[in-house]
Symmetry: D2
Subunit: 424 residues, 4 copies
């Protein structure tokens, strides 16, 4: 399904007056809006190929209709999103769910939709039909050298696919760990994993990064071999300069202060990227900003402060990706909501009065520090975010336009009602 | 220290033009602002007498200066707050920290400051100097009948004090529980507690309520004898129509869905009141809205919906109180921030498009339901809250005026630097 | 695969001398061992039909071999377990995974293996291929009356199957809830669920029980409509005398004191039954006793104390069932380990010196109370548990015999390597 | 109060026969008991000077009687414990609660009781009466250089006291952190803390160690500047070879896998020592082994495995200390229970069949691995622990003898009923 630009223009025209009123008011509330708007225009969030279909839990999956059946259709879906918000200009592939058989054609198709290829993702947490060894007891950590070798080779294969597509980073998320006390020797599991990662690292092109993602629990329920930021950092340090930690918001123990972790990883020069989502209990993979929007803002507050302190480029120096699952929402609408929530948090963080905050901190004026942050959070920045979309050629209200144009209905008509995407 | 009304007027004058601009814009964003403003004017949050001094932890207490040394000074402090925000028109006393020796005079003093007496609170979690029996092993649950009797008598005494002051409710928070497996027979502890509460209940005037507060842990670290809403509801049911559950936001296990508890207690006609604060880890007693402002909004969303469904009066039919501790902030500034955050959450909840939300729910339109709630949350309602203050004769920006007038410095000059309030 | 009794006899003979030595010593350590042994012989734990195959997570499933392909094979597997331990004399069916097409034959087959039919379980958390309406947005809570009706009818159907098989209870676990704030009206969801349960309750035979199971989260990640024991109790009270709460150990928020919940539910005369498993993070469904064996003992300590206080029959008056998932273990070995751990905890609880404990509690002698409990826990009761098996005609060491006899290898030979059981 | 050795001998005589029976049986169950007993004899757990009085919470403190009023009396109390169990041969002082005015005399007194001085502890989480600057907003992290200097100087002072007493390590636990978002710049707080620690490190004698203790929350409730093992390790790495991480069991987020942290810190050669206690909710500071005895065993399992893998001396190469609070128990009885629980866990870990466990791990035999660990845990090792005491000249049953001899009654007679120890 193609979304012609005149439809966006017509949608925007109908909303323009209201938008301009709001924008004018917002400008009177926030200093430096022009600079903020430009940063928002530049900011792009990658969409993972597995997020385009309805997710599920171990208790079941309630598929929606019109889900993409092929890599090509997934790229079209991300293209659609990007047309609607001009903030989703990248796709992150998951191998082997999305092996590009004709990389050149895939690259051309993506380019047509204005999309780049973000980090490629390996998968050693499931067995594939044609696979020699099972990952039941782990992959890079496995006590069996042949199984480790298989998992290493798979990662190297993924890098190759990535090179062909123009990606420049590999995300390694391992489900490796144990379900019962005694199952693993933690030290040996660490060491096996480190050696395996070192072999993968050796296959990494010079200008690539490797992201070592951590997770506190699930699918292993006693220990995870890359279980927290401390462990991920330890691996990344031993691997070398191209290795970084990747933070997924849902991968922490209850009550963890994620924004502090982000700040310290930036300080250690080892923060590599982000998987956005939201959660109340565990790795719930809910829409970004849907449960704890203030936390999302606080995280962006640290990101902006920390990246600026190191002179980093917000748009380019870290990897930004959504990693969510959509059990009860239309996946595309969910992704539009996630991107919007991320943009809002980013805009709020950009509008924090840094000088005043620093003064308050230097004077231990806790009341004032809270007021400064909460003022940025409570001020309605949505008109600024919408303006950034407008300038980039996207829709003022992407979800509304998506519904007006009956996108889902069209996709169902094209693809059928009972399609099932690869992914979780 | 007296805060003359001309000072407020002058403060408001200086901010009026900016305020009116914002208010006008907000009116264009939210339907029914007049009705919302009136509800905000009517809404009063009680200030507990123990929240006027610097709090502490078991690791230490860093007292500020100018803290109230007597009940009279505490009333003056609440009077000050109420003058500043006209939303703190009640004080909640804690016996024996604040025994009124001359109730008539105390009542007159409070009336002078426009204050009522909210729920009175008993204390059987600490031993007092002149006390016969120790509460080391609990009070209403105690295996020793004489100790239970002492605790019952104390509660009845507290009711008497409350009657003299014009209060009409008793809040019973029990620290009763156990620190180690085996210490208690849970069933007998429940039964002893129930019998004790029944004796207290019998002493309750006809038009009074008793609030049974629950808490998941601390200061007992294995079990609490009124540990969750299920237990509190069970006591309240057995006690009778005057008994209700009181919800303190910090008294839950990690990740609890408090808004659902609130909704169900309203449905069961057993929600009695609220202790507001915020927390990240446990009963952290932080400023309301400082850590999880969206949760606070969601709770108010259920309160408004549930009270309206039963035709309840928002301002009168539930007890509203702050219960926080102020380790690193000026307690009065902290209380102003808490009241402001509560008012904002209430205003947001009042501005939710209920009809649209109900439609979305009836159609399982989860995306739309989220948009409706988040629209109410993201819209800046602060001008409405300020307008309610303006109409009630309070300050447009209470914290700013508090600082301009150097209230704390004046209090220190009056009371000294090393005063220590009773309380935690 | 049939396990002839001479094989058990021969296995036992080879271990008998060592066993008798241990038993003699244990008798010298614990008072009243004969009575304990008899209670252990009488105690039976139901095996759920879905626990006989390898479980999985949303990230994948690593099937083992020789898994039962039909209800008949599942009964054979439970028969095998029961032959090995004489403590698994019941099977709990899950409809529609295990619809008995010829109930008479199935009953006869079960009787042949010495098995009864425990609670039957309905499933409205997944859509079945032939189903008219989807449960994507809940079943008994659904805003759509037709969907509620479908779910009610299914439960009534399950009762009918249960009657045919000689079962006398229905377990209702609902995944109903919501993933996002705003999705549900909590009160209406409760009321719809209650009405639906009332219709099911009306279809219940006079001598049946209905168990209302609660769960804190998953697969819904914002709210669960039967989320904690307080909610389950509220439903059970409104339903009537045949309705009870069912406790699954993994269905709680972090740090919940489950043993206290058990004690209070017994006191309220509303505890109906148990789903045993263990967990570290959430509903991890690990082997009972594998992570928190002391908690399991403390729970049994309350069960024994509370059932004795009400004169209940340990073996008959509550429903006992395992509910676990086996991602990295042979399911049958896992179940043997779970039953063993439960028997150990029960034996320990039976050996607690109740009189001494009561004395310690009455005297607030916390040190002594801990010593009494820990003495019962630290004393090795395994010889008593083994003796109970020996007397019942089972194996002294079921797991060892299972391996000696190469049961799994035989099952694979019979059924094939790539079988997949129905279930999670 | 002096405990004469004949009283111990007489106590032991009366229990000897029963003990020998049990020991003989235990020997038949566990291989290598002689070696285990010797290791138990060598193992000493330091008692912190602040654990000798009744602890409290922010809600109150229920003092017991006969608490030590001076450092001398504290040493006497630890001497008493050590006489009873010969496993508490060290005391850990907390400055400024226990400043030794005459170090020589204190050393002599300690030697008389067979006690060494373990790690000395600094305190910058409370203000002392004579202190120039307040630690309200942190110490080593403080934005004010003069306050950092004061805290650094205090730590150097503590080292000096330690040198005089023959200690060889400094434990730095910081309550530094923040209570509200915005209060701190996390990066600057880290950097200030690091610089401060570097100055302290520079003052450390060559043969000393510095332990950097971490804690997830409390008394700061938003962030802690040394909040988890990852942060502690980061500081320790930057400080140098004499810096290590110290693990306190209660200082973690809910559900943390502490045994894995222990294993990895040993692997990183940065585990320095331990603070033992137990908890259900937070830093509850309960008796070691009273809530999660299996976790304590699993931690010792990693300690034994990891220390053996690096050829470390169990008794000397790590620091072992209790850090608990005793709100409802006699502190001395509580400490005897804690030491006993630690010794049991250590003995269980020593009795694990390492070769078999390694085989099971190498073969992914998860069922067998669990059986090996649980066999070690379920086997009753108390006779071995008692035998170690007997050989060292201590009491077979320390708590029983403590009660027989009416030690607490004697201490009250000597010191009075209303004494209050320094400490929490």
């Amino acid at each position: 399904m193609l979304l012609e630009s005149y439809k966006i223009a017509s949608h925007n025209d109908s909303l323009l007056k209201g938008h301009e009123n709001k924008l004018a008011f917002t400008r009177s509330e926030i200093a430096g809006t022009e600079e903020i708007i430009q940063k928002l225009v530049d900011f792009q969030i990658a969409i993972p190929s597995w997020a385009l279909g309805t997710g599920g839990t171990r208790f079941g999956r309630f598929a929606g209709g019109g889900e993409p059946r092929t890599l090509e259709e997934k790229i079209e879906d991300v293209g659609l999103l990007h047309t609607l918000n001009k903030a989703s200009g990248a796709i992150s592939l998951h191998i082997p769910w999305d092996i590009p058989t004709d990389p050149k054609a895939i690259r051309a198709l993506a380019a047509q939709h204005g999309l780049k290829f973000d980090a490629v993702n390996s998968n050693t947490f499931q067995d594939q039909a044609d696979q020699e060894h099972t990952y039941k007891f782990g992959s890079l950590q496995n006590v069996n050298k042949a199984i480790r070798k298989q998992a290493i080779d798979h990662n190297i294969e993924v890098i190759k696919h990535g090179i062909e597509l123009g990606s420049d980073s590999l995300t390694v998320w391992l489900s490796d760990g144990s379900c019962f006390p005694g199952q693993l020797n933690f030290r040996k599991a660490y060491q096996n994993t480190l050696e395996s990662l070192q072999e993968i690292y050796a296959a990494l092109p010079d200008d690539w990064k490797i992201f070592v993602e951590y997770k506190a629990f699930e699918p292993n329920f006693y220990s995870m071999t890359v279980g927290d930021w401390g462990q991920s950092l330890s691996y990344a340090r031993k691997l070398g300069d191209k290795a970084y930690t990747l933070v997924d918001l849902g991968h922490h123990l209850p009550n963890a202060n994620i924004e502090q972790i982000v700040s310290l990883l930036l300080m250690e020069e080892k923060l590599g990227g982000f998987h956005f989502n939201d959660s109340k209990y565990g790795d719930d993979d809910l829409t970004a900003g849907s449960v704890k929007p203030y936390q999302l803002f606080l995280i962006f507050n640290e990101l902006v402060e920390g990246m600026d302190a190191r002179g980093m480029n917000h748009a380019k120096d870290l990897g930004w990706m959504i990693d969510a699952s959509h059990n009860v929402k239309d996946p595309l609408e969910d992704l539009l909501q996630s991107v919007e929530a991320i943009m809002i948090a980013y805009a709020q963080a950009l509008s924090v009065d840094r000088k005043a905050l620093e003064d308050a901190q230097e004077n231990n004026d806790v009341v004032r520090a809270q007021e400064i942050l909460q003022n940025a959070f409570r001020t309605d920045v949505r008109a600024i975010v919408a303006e950034a979309r407008l300038r980039a050629g996207a829709a003022l209200n992407p979800v509304a336009l998506y519904r007006e144009l009956k996108v889902r209905e069209n996709l169902i008509a094209e693809r059928g009602l009972k399609t099932v995407s690869t992914g979780l």
